[in-house]
Amino acid sequence: MKKNQILEKVIHGIFLFLGLITVDCVLMITVYLVISGIPAIFEIGPVDFLFGKEWASTAAEPKYGILPFILTSIYGTAGAIVIGVPIGFMTAIYLSKLASPKVKSAMQSAVSLLAGIPSVVYGLVGMLVLVPGIRKIFNVPDGASLLAAVIVLAIMILPSIIKMSITALDAVPKEYEDASLALGATPIETYFKVSVPAAKSGIAAAVVLGVGRAIGEAMAVMMVAGNVPNMPDSLFQSVRFLTTAVSSEMAYSSGLQQQALFSIALVLFLFIMLINAILNFFLKREKE
């Protein structure tokens, strides 16, 4: 008996230790980012850094303004949401409520497959198909642009939106829908006026999850967005995101430039923390 208890305790200890690895990683990354990101912000000046419109990190008189990156990340993510959410949302309603079991299982595996495609593949296809396509369709000199990045991101966030929305819609009690149908509402009326409102927290969480995925993506957008630190004034402009600002210059950077890249990463990290907080809020509300 005693032996068993000791064994239990030991196993508890092992599980606790394994659990703490994750927590430690998060803490370490946070502390590291804050320590390495803060000095450059103050050296450059918080206002110049966050609201400066010019980024020229290797110039003789370097300028470290990251407003173009912040706006690009916000616009790019917003664009991806505007395109991706309606498509994902409608797909989820179809799969959860309307599709026959056979169609549902086939389409769901397609969605899962889409989620599993590495981002470099999205980038490559974007570079070879989407970028020349935009150049020809819109008759612009070059297709690498904010628009190309928005389209790639919209496709990349579809799986998370669809899967999460399906889970939320499937969880709506059957009695709600039955009651609505019994009162004479058509199935479509029922889905939009009863099921969707009942699942709205879950769907909102799906959108926030999509935002998180879009804002953190680096590889695919680096290959299609052109990477010039312009202010995002037009859809056809070559732009640089917060993520790509870090990854494209890190390899050769040194001194204040490198510190500034850590500061950009810190800003990105804060954005993602904010998004996670919002996500938790919605998920908690759904549970209640």
Binding site: A60, R135, D142
Partner: protein, 268 residues
Amino acid sequence: MKKIITMTMVAALSIAMLTGCGNKKITGSVSTDGSTSMEKVIGALGEAFQNDSGINFTYNPTGSGSGIKAVQEGRCDIGLSSRDLKDEEKASGLKGTVLAYDGIAIIVNPENPVSDLSVETIAKIYTGEITNWSEIGGNDAEIVLIGREAGSGTRDGFESITDTEEVCKYRQELTSTGDVITTVAQNPGAIGYASVASVKDTVKAVAVDGVAPTEATIKDGSYVVQRPFVLVTKADSDLSEAAQKFFDYITSDDANEIISEAGVVSAN
């Protein structure tokens, strides 16, 4: 019995090792410091040298200026510079030996009829003074400027040769030579630059001032979009034994193959 055999073997091995050390072998290390553009070539040479001789090799990528200063102050054995030494640097007792030449090809889409540009025209294109191919004898299409990211050695080389530092109006800043070539291959209006060794058939390398970029024209200096990779040493004092061996090795014919594999033209 077994123990005795083991002990004998250990003893025999130790003796073998001791005699091994007794052979005339140079020990020590070679330290290099300087140009980040030379990372690829010096890294490949250093690795081969280290495997061959067992001498420890280090490379500190700090930039040409810092590398030259490091030699002056005696902080490294050999400095690496991706530009010729200035007169005052030579006067301060430094000696430059050209290891290789890095040729940068100006590439356009194969559909583009333009096949010859002068350095001034290239500079005007990249600074946005010339924006349409029709101004320089091409089709009526806007010129799309493709470049590399800030900090890239190729960008640094291109901009310093064409004297366009910090004023290039890029449409795209890509992070690898391969991406530049792919992008130029796809866009009929694009122009880009890439290391000569990596240019493929999918793009057209234009002649500069009438000279096409080939190994021969780069070596004799007639193709001007190029820069030397220079080994910087002190003129008056000798290198350490290990450093001298490294120097002799990388300037010998044996190193040529490694140098050209790294994408540059050997000076020998």
